[in-house]
């Protein structure tokens, strides 16, 4: 006989979990008691949102399921943003939440919340466990659901009495859920149809999203692009799925996409989406998106097909399998004219900024991060202007090296996700979180966790004194009225908060940079130390992200400057 709490610990062990992120509380003490005698590594975060983002960063960086453990009530409600972030981006998480005694549920007991009701819309699935006998099966199912199909977060809500109850139940069978059978192999006829379309196309374009990264299909994607001479554009979530140093790489498309990528979308005669979902930030005005193209859509999620854009050739299946099938069927070709056109766009309209500016520009800082790390780093971002600059001015060549909250756009994601990534990858890898002065303050408290566990993450803060992307929209579309977007008031204290002191107070190395010459030495110092480090870069306050497609406009209507 085992207790429910012991079933949890054993179930996690059987699922291959080595690290758990979370915070204890009244109704999960039994699980913590069982964990005390297990080899599981527990990382005590300072807020449950931090725990979910750490588990998320761990999952995105390693490809394994991220796991967190929190208490009932506020512990569970604090996970909601992290779960929604993981849900939108298809990140596999298992989150165990404590619940009050079964007999107390619905009685407004101390630290009670309707976790099932609250998390239903932000998870792939959730369970309320009513008997310890079900627990071994539910844990196995949760990991299976989280990691298969389009991955996503699963919540297991576990009342205290179920943790304490004894059970003889074991689960050693194979998970079999009759309502959940994700397709893996794409339909052979659809694959043949797509291969023929590729062979016939004059101007094909691959458009790869997060599914190409999550589906571990970067190698197949690269092989297909090279064999059939197809240029590749990626979404923000797809960065790293195709090496950006390759001449076929058009880099990111969409609202802040490159001119080459957006022009190629508008000119192509065959658009092949690989694990992307035609998000509004990618398509711009949907009726003018890829107007000349036959559209093929490869996705493991049938509900992604025809959601925003009608697919002429839908293929439901695992992208890796489908790409392998295509690779055998496509003919090697040269496509000289199309590639010359694409290369012309790349050369005429590179991503750029004012390299002669006397002020320290954020884009320069990102380029220096690329130089100093030799491009060999895992970059984790928050959300806003810095996120776009991190996408533009660092070249990603390997999958799982760019982690960002793409779908939900969660400010405060970066630092804890970087800590989780470092925990998963070990301290040998360089993990850099690029953030803004707005985003970083949303979960700064988690820096202590990095110090405590000797996880040497490097946080680079591009401090422009504003919620920069909001400021940019206000400058461009709201009459330059900076309502609610100013973080450091003119005439106020120059550094508020003082990020250097704040870093030091948390036990990390703190550095401040205010000019170009200081950037590379400071970054080197930060990367060389085996401690976590914060590098605050005080940058030009009103630099904008270009190019930009205004919201609702077609991808060819790009703004390159306000001048």
């Amino acid at each position: 006989m085992r207790t429910g709490a012991q079933c949890v610990i054993d179930g996690l062990r059987d699922a291959g979990v080595d690290t758990l992120f979370g915070i204890p509380g009244g109704v999960v003490l039994d699980i913590f008691a069982a964990m005390y005698h297990s080899p599981l590594k527990f990382i005590l975060t300072r807020h449950e949102q931090g725990a979910t983002h750490m588990a998320d960063g761990y999952a995105r960086a390693t490809g394994r399921v991220g796991c967190c453990l929190v208490t009932s009530g506020p512990g569970a409600t604090n996970t909601v943003t992290g779960l929604a972030t993981a849900s939108m981006d298809g990140v596999p998480l298992v989150c165990i939440t404590g619940q009050v005694m079964s007999s107390m549920i619905g009685n407004d007991a101390f630290q009670e919340a309707d976790t099932m009701g609250i998390t239903r819309a932000v998870t792939k699935h959730n369970y309320l466990v009513k008997s310890a006998d079900d627990l071994p099966r539910i844990i196995a199912e949760a990991f299976y659901i989280a990691s298969t199909g389009k991955p996503g977060p699963v919540v297991i809500d576990l009342p205290k009495d179920v943790q304490r109850a004894a059970t003889a139940a074991v689960f050693d069978g194979k998970v079999n859920i009759r309502g959940y059978k994700p397709a893996v192999e794409g339909h052979p006829r659809q694959i043949v149809k797509l291969a023929r379309a590729i062979n016939r196309a004059k101007r094909p374009l691959l458009y790869a999203g997060g599914g190409a990264v999550a589906g571990d299909a970067a190698a197949e994607l690269t092989a297909l692009a090279r064999k059939a001479a197809i240029p590749v554009t990626t979404t923000l979530m797809g960065l790293g799925a195709f090496p950006e140093t390759d001449p076929l790489a058009l880099r990111m498309l969409g609202m802040h996409g490159t001119v080459a990528a957006n022009h190629a979308v508008s000119a192509c005669d065959l658009l092949i989406s690989i694990g992307a979902r035609f998000d509004d930030r990618v398509t711009g005005k949907i009726s003018e998106f890829a107007p000349r193209a036959l559209k093929a859509h490869v996705d493991i999620d049938p509900s992604a097909i025809d959601k925003n854009v009608a697919a002429d050739i839908p293929v439901v299946g695992h992208v890796k399998h489908v790409l392998r099938g295509l690779l055998d069927l496509v003919e090697p070709v040269e496509r000289r004219e199309w590639l010359a056109q694409v290369s012309d766009w790349q050369k005429t309209y590179p991503l750029t900024y004012d390299r002669n500016s006397a002020e320290l520009l954020p884009q320069y800082v990102i380029e220096q991060i690329y130089e100093v790390t030799g491009g060999d780093a895992v970059i984790v971002t928050d959300v806003g202007q810095h996120q776009m600059w991190a996408a533009h001015f660092f070249k990603y060549t390997r999958p799982r090296t760019f982690l960002s909250s793409g779908g939900l756009g969660t400010m405060g994601y970066g630092l804890p996700a970087a800590i989780g990534a470092q925990a998963g990858l070990g301290s040998g890898r360089t993990v850099v979180t690029i953030s803004g002065d707005g985003s970083i303050q949303m979960n700064f408290q988690e820096l202590v966790v990095a110090v405590e566990h000797k996880l040497p993450v490097k946080a680079v803060i591009l401090n422009n004194g504003h919620l920069g992307m909001v400021r940019q929209w206000q400058e461009m579309f709201y009459n330059r009225e900076y309502s609610g977007s100013v973080l450091s008031q003119p005439g106020g204290a120059p550094y508020l908060p003082d990020f250097v002191k704040l870093a030091e107070a948390h036990g990390a190395l703190g550095l401040r940079v205010t000019s170009r010459q200081q950037v590379a030495p400071a970054l080197r110092k930060a990367i060389e130390t085996d401690r976590p480090a914060v590098v605050e870069c005080v940058v030009k306050p009103n630099e904008n992200v270009y190019p930009m497609v205004p919201p609702g406009a077609s991808l060819t209507e790009m703004i390159h400057s306000l001048a």
């Binding site: 099932m116 009701g117 239903r120 819309a121 792939k124 699935h125 309320l128 659901i145 859920i177 009759r178 309502g179 959940y180 999620d301 049938p302 509900s303 097909i305 025809d306 959601k307």
Partner: protein
């Protein structure tokens, strides 16, 4: 357009909330809803009528299919299907009107199931359209209470009838 969606789901707590949440979260009103176990007690059949745009409801159907507790979802609207609804309706019936109401019920294969001093309660089973007709004709008699089961439906097989050798 009104869609009739039927789903086979796990007979478990929380499943109904999940399905209703997915539909209502997109601003659709579920006009009628019926849930009950099937011949397999671990499986329930759910039948919903939802008015809404075809394309959006196709998306909703796909997302319902994605739910782990949902075994199969079918939008019956564009297929052959049988539908029935049961209504219990209490109608004001002063002494002189009883025969007239009973006759109307009979014409619709309905049945008077309770007789009160000033009212009758009529039960009627039928296709949605016929139910609507019946209720329209009852209106002048003053309806005091109405309870409808919601539509239940099953798809009809499209293949040739059993016993034929047609392929």
């Amino acid at each position: 357009m009104k869609h009739v969606i039927t789903a086979l789901v796990e007979n478990q707590p929380g499943v109904l909330a999940r399905i209703v949440g997915l539909i209502s979260g997109r601003g659709f009103n579920i006009e009628s809803l019926n849930v009950a176990p099937t011949h397999d007690p671990t499986v329930s059949r759910m039948t919903m009528t939802v008015p809404g745009d075809d394309r959006v409801l196709e998306q909703v159907t796909k997302q319902l299919n994605k739910l782990v507790d949902v075994i199969k979802v079918t939008d019956l609207t564009k297929r052959r299907y049988l539908n029935r609804e049961l209504v219990l309706v209490e109608v004001a019936a002063p002494a002189g009107k009883r025969a007239e109401i009973a006759e109307l019920a009979e014409l619709f294969e309905g049945k008077v199931v309770a007789v009160q001093a000033r009212s009758l309660t009529v039960q009627m089973v039928g296709e949605q359209e016929r139910i609507e007709d019946f209720l329209r004709l009852l209106k002048p008699f003053r309806v005091l209470a109405l309870s409808r089961s919601g539509v239940i439906a099953v798809a009809r097989a499209d293949e040739a009838p059993a016993g034929s050798n047609a392929k």
